[in-house]
Symmetry: C2
Subunit: 582 residues, 2 copies
């Protein structure tokens, strides 16, 4: 096999190259055989170039098919009918030599014409390499590479050291299911693939590394949602002798750096911060999308004055009445309101109250309960201007927040409040330390059990643990949680107390975390850290809703690789060596 | 907890800082309590600084113990008795404020005094974080980070794109045992952890990526040698439309770049190249250490003329007589020669013949068989000068090569022929395509089954496969194989033929490699690649013989993590969900 060295990629030639003798290699993207002349679109990752072949001198031209790999040598000439769509559209290459490097069988689907639709998804995953040749996936992989390069350069420059932590780790399931790996040397024992390098990075701080990072592969054996993969990447960061006041600006600059290197977008500086409680008050969620307004307004006091049974019942049961105003929303039609109401009901709500301010007059689904005097109060409280609408929900706190959050995001989408290339980051701080797991009737960590409680709330651990706040923080971008971290516990007694409060038995504590509690005893520096969901960040940067678009070889929602057919059966011999049975 | 922000690391202060008010944080490395004054060596990853505490004003000074984490604020003063051993030895800090951030329990071993010896190895692994605080391991991790940064910057600048390939892959065991991961969703099916991203990177070339790299974690479930770990890192590279003539200079510059960034060392340029056959002839190994000479000299013709039964027997059985000359080796004592002879016998050799040239006279263990005329021929053939010695072995080819290789390296070590900071790379090319597995009576790939045969040797596949050479290459450095690669097969028919020749049944072929043979059919570009053993490279750069020194959390030879105690038992519930039994 003779490979003539290419002189240019298929995306490189311009009008200034006219007259040059060049050699290109690539795939036959399109070909038009006019009998006396053959036109080829030669493609590689960098672009496409038109090639003209005279079959009288180069009869090989007739035997070329889609996706053949060929090498073409020839002269660059000016194209008569320039194609402004193509970067190389001003020129074409008149072939003097053509060699087939590799033929192609008939394709299962066309590379040149993009297909779409659910029906083809499985085929595209099965022939991932053909799907790659169409462009977007490879572009995303290059984007991902650029983001990784930017991340590493940025953190390296600030004294962070990338350390590779083990993939074959210990099973300490907390939250999600571990992937297990049977040990051949110790039959009956298992390694676990890490859900995160959490304990290893803390151990590195205890070991004195000072500043650590890793673009780490992590694993969770969960039933997958559309935006999850069994293995995923996170930018994992930990530092000693610091507080979030030092960490936040570093992370903000890092994210900005990634955005700068991948997308021409500027983020606000500094990122705004909001406590978890305020987030819930204003947006009903701990990951509010700040690209649009419509903050919630508490209406309990006004609602109490109305003889509207729904309000009275909600408030009587300790619930709330809350709503938000949609600027110019008075143009939402009766049908539109009906659809929003159905949506709220679909989500488990009991109904939706609307108000409109048109020509100075308040109209509302509960107009009859509202006196003229009251109406003015509602308009003022809801900050309604002429032409605005407001939507109100009454009920238990958590449910009401959830409904309004969904409603707010739906209205923003429907009314196109979200501008392209608008990126709105937010630090959410002071999360509750614990959440109550109703199913298992026990406390669980909101973040993870290594998170330091808010020092002001230490006294609550015994008396009212659910009221205790933690020194944790999330970074939210456009309504997605893209990072999560905390100040860690650096005191083994406090760490044991947290495990105790979580109801982890002393035996389990020793088995699962014994080595770590032990490590904390030998002079642990105060430390804190964060992990950025790298795949999520890439989805936002690539502007896609599917994680499959930004991973080279994704798995299906059933965690299957359709290309290689993994997982698969293995030989009896393999199982025998591992001493396991199915 | 109040963490005062440090103004300097413990390695930063110099004479020019005298008079400055500073805050340091770190570990109490040493402390001398003189009653009226307390001297502390405060340590962090960056160095050590002497701190002076007056317990009259700072009684906390008395309560400090080894490895306590403290923060110290004070003034930098010139030290009366400067310590030139320490970068900060010109100054000390007179403490004005001292806070304990974290106490330490009594240590299992001292951090300040290095220990060594087999007895402590397990303890050091169990308390890896304490071992880290002593310095060398963290220094190696930083070195490793620098090498990774250099690798990425270099390859990125040459258009290589880093792509993360899956860890949860398909079991296609070839050579080594796979680590398996049971699938919960498909009971009885398993993922395998990759032994290398070989097929994925080839698929990326088929998908048109053009140039790929990855610092990839790979896995092998083998009984471990001292220099192996169950998981290891390789710099994995693949490129399309190129030959080794383009690849070699890239890899040479990459290795030089890594050496430049980690160690002030220059490698020759270009790296020398040698065929496998020549390597075996001259050094008896495919990974010769070129830091010293002592090339083998074939002595069959001369040996044939001597009535020495050992030579006659060896040659009669198709064996060889070979040896090498040791410059100035005539000073090797009788006892020295006896030890070398025992060494050869220990390795399974039948004996060692020596010759010495002293005062123009040849002495030798076989002097009585050598006539005066013959002696001159031996001296000439062995290129012996006055004061030289030569060592000769006779026997079957493979065994003789092996013995001489060991002997050559031992003599080089003993006679200190190896200079520090001398790095001698070598490309070894044209390996045999197949090796014969005596145990299983079948051919196996010398490199791997995706390696392209030497195109001149294609006709040998049917007639004499063991004579066929491959388009593969190893990079050897100082006697270690640090990289291995090949031109790949890009033709599905040839790929099938290789599987056939390897005796892989059609069924197995489809099960294990079906997707890949299929992929090769749709226009596969010619491509080639290489993988550099990153851990091995780091061992050479760090100047250590143990892989444990250059990995953050190594496992023992039984693949156990002594710190976390992985692998470990898991819960019945976990096994039940996976539907597996032990």
């Amino acid at each position: 096999m003779h490979i003539k060295t290419r002189t240019h990629t298929c995306g490189a030639l311009r009008e200034s190259d006219v007259g040059a003798k060049v050699t290109l290699v690539g795939w036959v993207h399109r070909h038009r055989d006019l009998g006396s002349l053959i036109f080829i679109d030669l493609r590689d990752r960098f672009g496409r170039t038109q090639v003209v072949i005279d079959p009288k001198t180069l009869p090989v031209g007739h035997s070329l098919g889609f996706e053949y790999v060929i090498t073409v040598s020839g002269e660059v000439v000016r194209r008569k009918d320039a194609n402004p769509q193509l970067a190389t559209g001003a020129i074409e290459v008149v072939a003097q030599e053509v060699h087939i490097l590799s033929a192609s069988a008939v394709l299962p689907f066309s590379v040149a014409d993009t297909i779409s639709g659910e029906a083809h998804d499985e085929l595209r995953l099965q022939y991932r390499y053909l799907d790659m040749r169409r462009g977007p996936i490879l572009d995303n992989l290059v984007l991902r590479h650029r983001a990784m390069m930017a991340t590493r350069a940025f953190l390296d420059a600030r004294g962070f050291v990338e350390v590779t932590t083990p993939i074959l780790g210990k099973s300490t399931p907390e939250g999600a299911r571990d992937y297990l790996v049977p040990s051949r040397i110790y039959p009956g024992s298992f390694y676990a693939l890490p859900q995160s390098p959490q304990l290893f990075k803390q151990i590195l701080m205890i070991g004195g590394l000072d500043r650590y990072f890793q673009i780490a592969t992590c694993f969770r054996d969960e039933d997958l949602r559309a935006d999850r993969q069994p293995e995923f990447s996170q930018i994992d960061i930990e530092m000693s002798f610091a507080t979030h006041e030092e960490l936040f600006p570093i992370i903000e600059s890092l994210v900005q750096q990634i955005f700068t290197s991948c997308k021409d977008a500027t983020l606000p500086s500094p990122f705004p911060q909001m406590s978890y409680d305020t987030c819930m008050e204003l947006y009903g969620t701990d990951k509010p999308d700040l690209r649009f307004g419509m903050e919630f307004i508490k209406l309990n006091e006004l609602a109490m004055q109305l003889p509207f049974p729904v309000f009275q019942e909600a408030l009587g049961n300790g619930g709330i009445v809350k709503g938000f105003t949609v600027t110019g929303g008075a143009d939402i039609s009766r049908k539109g309101i009906e659809e929003l109401t159905s949506y709220v009901e679909l989500l488990g709500g009991k109904g939706l109250i609307w108000m409109k301010l048109v020509d100075g007059e308040l109209s509302s689904s509960i107009r009859k309960y509202v006196t003229a005097e009251n109406a003015a109060c509602w308009i003022e409280r809801l900050k309604m201007q002429k032409g605005d609408a407001a939507f109100i929900v009454a009920g238990p706190v958590r449910k009401t927040h959830q409904l309004l959050d969904h409603l707010r995001r739906r209205i923003a989408r429907e009314r196109n409040y979200i501008q392209a290339h608008h990126f709105a980051p937010l630090w959410v701080t002071d999360f509750p330390l614990f959440a109550y797991n109703e199913e298992e009737s026990r406390l669980e960590s909101e973040h993870h059990p290594f998170t330091c409680p808010h020092l002001e709330d230490l006294h609550l651990l015994d008396t009212a643990p659910l009221k205790a706040r933690s020194s944790s923080y999330d970074l939210v971008l456009n309504g997605y949680e893209i990072a999560s971290g905390s100040q860690r516990i650096h005191d083994s007694a406090l760490q044991e107390k947290i495990f105790l409060t979580l109801g982890i038995s002393p035996e389990e504590r020793v088995n699962r975390f014994g080595f770590f509690i032990e490590a904390l005893r030998y002079g642990t520096p105060p430390h804190l850290g964060i992990a950025l969901g790298f795949d999520r960040l890439m989805m936002i940067l690539a502007g896609t809703e599917s994680i499959r678009d930004i991973v080279a070889f994704p798995k299906t929602q059933k965690a299957q690789d359709l290309m290689t057919k993994a997982p698969s059966q293995v030989s009896e011999q393999q199982l025998k060596e591992l001493k396991i049975k199915i």
